[in-house]
């Protein structure tokens, strides 16, 4: 199921969609599944499951720490696919966000086939741009998967047009120049980037810029189709430490706050 359906549903309710990220295998494989299901029950519309990778150049310390914990715990690519299967069973569009090498290593065609059969919606590829992604684009098209590519404030209009033309599902706008991580201030680069992106496509545009609470989500929701939250969820679980019950409760509370925010935007 394409992520686009969740954006359309949100749009029909006159609100933005809430897109939530957690890495697979964090704190462990079953723990991540439980956490993501908690987020879905509390109001996440689209799920991004991170594939933990040894060299995450676009991630800040929070997501690095979670990914490292998952890798130290022995998470494998097949565990990520099992996580997708368990989460997609809730009916929420479920994408994998991954650096490119693990997919190339698994086999691009095989990854696409296995992701599709697990019920996954597609891939978000932070270090693969469409002009380097012919093999993935062909495999995604064969298996009816979303191709979510990123645009950035530094992207030229020409590159934004090229990127949106190659995308399916939604377009991911990284609205700050920097790595992932919660930020206290919102970005004045986000609005113009969304506007430039929307001028090239009818696809929904999701914005990731370090949103960590409902008020920030409401602000982003005023100009974007989706509010993408990652580090704040990860931080919540990291802060709860070994007390998983408390972690899940905090995760549900944060999700409700954010879900309320996207309805105020």
């Amino acid at each position: 199921m394409s992520a686009k359906s969740a954006f359309e549903k949100a749009r029909s309710e006159n609100r933005a969609a809430l897109v939530g990220y957690l890495p697979a295998g964090f704190p462990d494989v079953d723990g991540a599944i439980e956490a993501i299901r908690t987020m879905v029950e509390a109001g996440v519309d689209v799920v991004e499951i991170g594939l933990p990778y040894s060299d995450p150049v676009m991630d800040g310390p929070t997501i690095q720490a979670a990914a490292q914990q998952a890798l130290d715990g022995g998470v494998r690519t097949r565990d990520v696919l099992r996580t997708v299967e368990a989460v997609a069973a809730t009916g929420v569009p479920t994408l994998v966000m991954t650096y490119w090498n693990p997919v190339e290593r698994y086999g691009v065609e095989k990854f696409a086939a296995d992701l599709a059969s697990a019920g996954g919606a597609g891939l978000i590829t932070p270090d693969l741009t469409p002009d380097s992604g012919e093999e993935w684009i062909a495999a995604a098209d064969r298996h009816d998967l979303d191709k979510v590519f990123l645009v950035a404030p530094s992207s030229t209009d020409e590159r934004i047009a090229m990127t949106t033309a190659a995308s399916r599902g939604f377009v991911y706008a990284t609205a700050v120049m920097g790595v992932t991580g919660a930020r206290s201030t919102t970005s004045d680069l986000a609005g113009p980037l969304v506007a430039r992106t929307k001028s090239t496509t009818d696809l929904p545009v999701g914005v990731g810029l370090g949103v960590s609470n409902g008020d920030q989500a409401a602000e982003v929701a005023s100009y974007a189709d989706g509010v993408i939250v990652g580090s704040a969820f990860v931080r919540t679980l990291l802060d709860a430490g070994a007390d998983r019950k408390a972690g899940l409760a905090a995760l549900a509370a944060l999700t409700r706050d954010l879900a309320d925010g996207v309805r105020r935007g």
Binding site: Y53, S54, D55, P56, V57, M58, G60, Q64, Q68, L71, R76, T77, W100, N101, P102, V103, E104, R105, Y106, P126, D127, L128, T129, D131, S132, F149, L150, V151, A152, P153, S154, S155, T156, R159, T163, T174, M177, G178, V179
Partner: protein, 413 residues
């Protein structure tokens, strides 16, 4: 032979390797850099100024020296390209001066760099001081301990050194951290990439700035000895000194080309940095190349006594040269390299960097067969890419040096 047998296409691919696998946020900067580099290399004002600063400041052309005593012992003629005599003690100065000049030309005010052994960090700090640029160097926390002297040199030159604790806390993680900095600072900051790896245009650009090594050596060899060498040899971590040497000789089909990778404890132990020899094709730090990786594509930590070779990837042009068979890449263990370091020190009075000692050790390994084929005049040109001053701590530990009288002979352990 076709233009593209060597060199990259317009997307930065050397055959199956290279390219640009990078976040969109950095693509504009990489495009800007590509245009600036290509324009600069076509601008005599830039290339003349580059030659001038290399000559007057870095001390090039470096000597080509016939190591007669070593040759006698080895049974083949060993020529050393003395990049260890360059300002800052290694070939790295060529690359950073080129990139720093380009930074000025592009109007940027700050540079960042990653470093393993510290040689590229020192060279970057030097170039930044010379050109009046702010400089931040990322260095694996493990390496800052192995190479404390180079940390101090960078600081004295005015650079900020940031130890990196993430991942394996070595060169690859320093690159990750530098990329994280760059994505947030790209409007005013240039990334002085330290080796001929990474996304397009770095592999080609770094090769261009380092190729003086081979251009000089080839001409010196003809001028001094009237022949080309039978073989050339360099150590390969990321591979900047190696590609700098190899480029001038690629079309000389009679010159055998050898790259020596860090074999660590031995490739069979799994503790090594022999990326081409034991890795598989993948994507690391923006390029498709050979990578030390597990079944799931997670990067495997490399191991080498040499911080400068301790990298689980390799420049994509080397992957290509290996695949098409133009160059041969072989591992050299820590022990073989340290033996070569001692041998050169005692026969010629030259203490090589432990990185360069890998090239020398490799040359010694191929010398016998080469001499058997070509006779006693068989000539191997070795790139002595850096000097060993920075490696004294390693040498003290390895050879048990610095003890009291009677314990100071430094026999192999």
């Amino acid at each position: 032979m076709s233009e593209l047998r060597f060199g990259a296409d317009e997307r930065g691919f050397f055959g199956n390797f290279g390219g640009r696998f990078m976040p969109e946020a950095l693509v504009a900067a990489l495009d800007e850099l590509t245009v600036a580099w290509q324009e600069a290399m076509a601008d005599p004002e830039f290339t003349d100024a580059f030659e001038k600063i290399l000559r007057e400041y870095a001390g090039t052309p470096s000597l080509l020296y016939e190591a007669e005593r070593l040759s006698k012992q080895v049974g083949a003629r060993i020529l050393l390209k003395r990049e260890d005599l360059n300002h800052t003690g290694a070939h790295k100065i060529r690359n950073v001066l080129g990139q720093a000049m380009l930074t000025k030309r592009m109007g940027k005010t700050r540079v960042i760099a990653e470093t393993g052994a510290g040689q590229h960090g020192v060279a970057s700090a030097t170039a930044a001081a010379y050109f009046g640029l702010d400089c931040t160097v990322y260095m694996g926390a493990v390496d800052t301990k192995r190479q404390a002297l180079n940390v101090a040199r960078m600081q004295l030159l005015g650079a900020k050194v940031i130890p990196v604790d993430s991942g394996s806390a070595t060169l690859k993680d320093a690159i990750n951290e530098a990329l994280r900095d760059w994505v947030a600072s790209v409007d005013h900051t240039a990334y002085l990439f330290g080796t001929a790896a990474g996304p397009h245009p770095f592999p080609s650009m770094v090769r261009d700035f380092c190729r003086g090594i081979g251009d000089e050596a080839r001409q010196q060899c003809l001028d001094q000895y009237g022949v080309l060498p039978d073989a050339i040899a360099a150590c390969v971590g990321g591979g900047s000194n190696a590609i700098g040497l190899f480029t001038a000789f690629l079309e000389d089909d009679d010159v055998a080309i050898y790259g020596f990778e860090a074999g660590g404890d031995g490739v069979e132990t799994g503790r090594h940095a022999a990326t081409i020899g034991a890795g598989e094709s993948g994507v690391l730090h923006g390029a498709r190349t050979y990578v030390l990786q597990d079944e799931d594509g997670q990067t495997i930590e490399s191991h080498s006594i040499s911080a400068g070779l301790d990298y689980p990837g390799v420049g994509p042009e080397h992957s290509h040269l290996s695949e098409i068979g133009r160059a041969t890449y072989l591992p050299v263990t820590d022990a073989e390299a340290m033996d070569a370091m001692a041998l050169l020190s005692r026969t010629e009075g030259i203490i090589p960097a432990v990185e360069s000692a890998h090239a020398l050790a490799g040359a010694l390994k191929i010398a016998e067969q080469l001499a058997a084929e070509k006779g006693p005049d068989a000539t191997i040109l070795v790139n002595l890419s850096g000097r060993g001053d920075k490696d004294m701590g390693t040498a003290i530990d390895w050879f048990g040096l610095g003890g009291t009288e009677g314990e100071t002979e430094g026999d192999d352990k």
